[in-house]
């Protein structure tokens, strides 16, 4: 639920992110401008532009003034300039963001749906052969890191069998449009989404299963059984519904994990999302871009958690009564 406690938490997290972003380049030995832009870039920079940067970053002023300038710039939407890409950091990130959202969103939906479905079935049949197999199977699946899964999928289905494309989000300049374009995009995202979904699935499944087991023992279930309700109604309408809630609350936190997973998977498939961008930025030490990505990703995760907190009371009526 969203309340003062959580607001404080989010504020602290937000401040921490800002502070880290602000402090890192300034804690490095040497000129913070070179820590922010990199020496190679500075050498090529015109002196007037350099002076302009020093002024806008307030680098010749005390630390707290600098922080103020930094915050001010952020609120004006100025996240810095990526010298490597020759464009504003914001525009570079915005270009890649939709692809990451596509892959992460699809994986989130798929893994949640499948995980909950499997978890409910497993919890309902607890102790049976089905349950035990699923449990062992999914727990093992959980142990495979997403980048390994991605690589194996790519090598087997992409290279060896040639069924799926080897890289990118779509076939460039193919002249496709409409339905065939959609199919092209889906073919390119099939493997990355599969890898991410498989990696994330077990977490959802385990949580749902555990909750289901707990819920099944609850008094209200006994009442429902006594009332003579059908198995199906018991399983889904009563037990299942309640088992889904914990998953939804944890989704916010798991989003962080999905974002991490997306980073690895995008790298393996050269998928042009924010994760791939991060890796490129790290390779070229494009500091303004790295910082911009850090800021946007961390804040996006915060906002997602925030949204889940807002939604929770709507899903679980018990909560709003308690307040």
């Amino acid at each position: 639920m969203l309340n003062r406690r959580n607001l404080v938490t989010y504020s602290i997290a937000f401040l921490f992110i800002l502070a880290l972003n602000f402090l890192m380049p300034r804690m490095m030995p040497g000129d913070p401008l070179s820590a922010i832009y990199g020496d190679e870039v500075l050498v090529a920079m015109a002196p007037e532009f350099k002076a302009h940067l020093v002024e806008s970053f307030a680098l010749d002023e005390p630390m707290w003034r600098q922080f103020g300038a930094y915050i001010l710039a952020l609120f004006q939407g100025d996240m810095g300039y990526s010298y490597y890409y020759n464009a504003s950091v914001f525009s570079v990130i915005i270009g890649s963001l939709p692809w990451t959202l596509l892959v992460v969103g699809s994986s989130l939906v798929l893994s949640t749906l499948i995980g909950i479905a499997l978890g409910i079935e497993s919890g309902w049949r607890r102790g049976s052969r089905t349950d035990r197999t699923m449990l062992a199977g999914l727990m093992s699946l959980n142990g495979f890191p997403d980048f390994f899964l991605g690589l194996v999928l790519l090598l087997v289905f992409g290279v060896l069998m040639g069924i799926f494309p080897l890289a990118g989000a779509l076939t460039p300049y193919s002249g496709l449009s409409g339905f065939s374009l959609v199919v092209d995009v889906m073919k390119h995202m099939a493997l990355p989404v599969t890898a991410l979904t498989l990696a994330h699935l077990a977490g959802v499944y385990l949580l749902t299963r555990n909750t289901m087991i707990t819920v099944l023992k609850a008094p209200f279930m006994l009442t429902a059984r006594a009332k003579g309700l059908s198995q199906r109604r018991l399983k889904y309408h009563h037990a299942g519904r309640n088992s889904m809630l914990p998953v939804l609350t944890v989704t916010g936190i798991w989003l962080g994990r999905l974002v991490t997973g997306a980073l690895f998977v995008e790298l393996v498939f050269a998928y042009p999302g924010v994760g791939y961008l991060t890796y490129q930025a790290l390779l070229t030490r494009d500091y303004p871009l790295i910082q911009g990505i850090f800021l946007i990703v961390a804040i996006a995760v915060l906002i997602a958690n925030f949204a889940v907190d807002l939604l929770y009371p709507k899903l679980d009526p018990r909560v709003s009564y308690a307040h």
Binding site: G38, D39, E40, N86, G95, L166, P172, A270, P272
Partner: protein, 526 residues
């Protein structure tokens, strides 16, 4: 709350339905209009090299390569020679130290305006005020003045006699349209379609930074006739996947790792080898004891088996380094350059002459054990490990550290190192020798204490007679190899594979000032 029907079976059906949608379209070898002249696709691992205009492209070889389809130079090169481009003929006047270029009169810019000598004069002035990373028009390579005597004749007066002028300046400087760039104070502010109006055989139809793709369309009014291919596409494919893409036929050309050369040829693809362009070097801090001693550096050279280095760290796909820096495959190579064959006994002898004695497997002098620090970026970790092994086998303790590339550069710049590993290209033109031996910067040896060497390096830059210049370069190699301020370790071999639909070749001495990529725009023109 509504009724959820979360049967496993239902979920399965949904997934099945989705896959059925996708699979039918998954047939390999797709419908792509593969008429020979329609389109040509080139694979590149990095993808994005900047907007292909003179001031927005990234200042690396591939960035220039993307730009040269759109913009042209006065003079160009084929696989073997200088060829006319915007200039039909040219002449060098030694007395005046000036080049006169007679320009073509049938060239149009992509927007229809005519190209004239005014554009050339304007370009020279503009670059002097707004430096270009590849073309420096101030200083020894500079142009004092550009004068247009009529619409199609321009005379360039040089600052001083500069041997590589034709290659590095006239053959590299792209001419920009005066009617567009006049009055543009900040060249980087021109980001729209007007920034890619050139005279070349192709126009830019699309560029995507995040996908790393380029689409070029043939310019049908090109003065040499309609280009051979209607569309050229650059797509981003990771290095490991390029061979598979070539085999599948989804791209026509791309660079390939050496291990698949045989496989590519077996599949009917043509593989071409780049003339050596790049070398990896052991940078030595010759300002610091004991490395300041020539004999010590020579001992190091004899202790590092460069042949074995190539076999182990490059899996045989490189040429062992010549201590004279110029590669053995180059026309400038001096076969009498001292080679410092692998000879650990000789190394030991040299070290002993300097007062070192072997004690418990390691050399010591005055009670101090000989220890050197080797720093390098993580990319060179295998080479660093090899060198460490070799030197320790000899009896010199080595502390090998990998650092951030920028951290390495910073320390080398500040002379805060013993040994370092570094690589650079530009080996086609001897002008590189001066830049990496005596000039300032972390990528140079900054070795200025040998007067004779300095003299030779200055001399070759301004010697306009090719025979005399070659002689000077020969001498440079001998003197440089004798003093050894840095040791060239190896020259990697680079390969490209293509399906033969367009005749790709490596331009003589690289495209423009030395870009070792086989994508000369002339391959795409009849």
């Amino acid at each position: 709350m509504t009724h959820f029907r979360l049967d496993v079976s239902r979920v399965a059906i949904i997934i099945l339905a989705i896959s059925l949608l996708v699979l039918p379209a998954c047939s390999p070898g797709e419908a792509q209009d593969s008429s020979q002249m329609d389109s040509y696709t080139i694979a590149d691992a990095t993808g994005d090299w900047g907007y292909p205009s003179p001031y927005l492209r990234y200042s690396r070889g591939p960035g220039y390569t993307r730009m040269q389809f759109i913009f042209e130079t006065l003079v160009w090169k084929s696989a073997t020679d200088f060829v006319p481009q915007l200039a039909e003929e040219w002449e060098y006047d030694e007395r005046e130290n000036a080049y006169t270029f007679k320009l073509r009169d049938d060239v149009t810019w992509h927007d229809g305006e005519k190209f004239t000598a005014e554009d050339v004069v304007f370009t020279v002035d503009y670059i002097k005020n707004h430096p270009d990373p590849f073309v420096t028009l101030i200083g020894p390579s500079g142009i004092k003045e550009a004068v247009a005597s009529d619409d199609y004749t321009v005379k360039l007066y040089l600052e001083q006699s500069y041997a590589p002028f034709l290659n590095d300046i006239a053959g590299t400087m792209v001419i920009i349209p005066k009617h567009i760039w006049e009055g543009v104070d900040d060249p980087k502010s021109l980001t729209g379609p007007e920034a890619v109006i050139g005279t070349g055989p192709y126009t830019l139809a699309d560029y995507s930074k995040e996908h790393g793709t380029y689409l070029y369309q043939a310019y049908d009014n090109y003065y040499l006739g309609e280009p051979v291919v209607k569309e050229i596409k650059f797509v981003r494919i990771s290095e490991e996947m390029i061979p598979a893409a070539l085999e599948k036929g989804s791209v026509n050309a791309g660079d390939i790792p050496p291990e698949v050369v045989a496989e590519m040829e077996a599949n009917g693809l043509t593989v071409i080898t780049a003339p050596v362009a790049w070398n990896a070097k052991l940078t030595i801090n010759h300002q610091k004891e004991p490395l300041s001693d020539k004999g010590f550096r020579q001992a190091l050279a004899c202790a590092i088996d460069r042949e074995a280095l190539v076999q182990i760290t490059q899996r045989g796909h490189a040429i062992a380094g010549s201590p004279g820096m110029v590669p053995p495959t180059s026309g400038w190579y001096n076969p009498d350059t001292p080679q410092y064959e692998y000879d650990p006994a000789k190394s030991r002898q040299l070290l002993e002459e300097l007062g070192y004695r072997l004690e418990d497997d390691y050399f010591t002098r005055d009670g101090q054990q000989l220890e050197l620090e080797l720093i390098a970026a993580a990319d060179y970790k295998e080479i660093g490990q090899f060198i460490k092994q070799q030197l320790e086998q000899l009896g010199i303790k080595v502390d090998f550290q990998t650092l951030e590339a920028k951290a390495v550069d910073a320390r080398v710049e500040a002379w805060d190192f013993d040994l370092s590993i570094y690589g650079h290209g530009g080996l086609y033109e001897p002008s590189i020798l001066k830049r990496v031996i005596v000039d300032e910067g972390f990528n140079s040896a900054r070795y200025t204490s040998n007067e004779e060497l300095n003299h030779l390096l200055e001399g070759q830059l301004s010697e306009m007679d090719p025979e005399k210049r070659k002689d000077l370069v020969f001498q440079i190699q001998e003197v440089y190899a004798e003093d050894l301020p840095a040791l060239t370790l190896y020259y990697p071999k680079w390969y490209w594979a293509h399906d033969g639909k367009v005749n790709l070749y490596y331009t003589r001495d690289g495209i423009a000032s030395g870009v070792p990529i086989p994508l000369n725009r002339m391959s795409f023109v009849k």
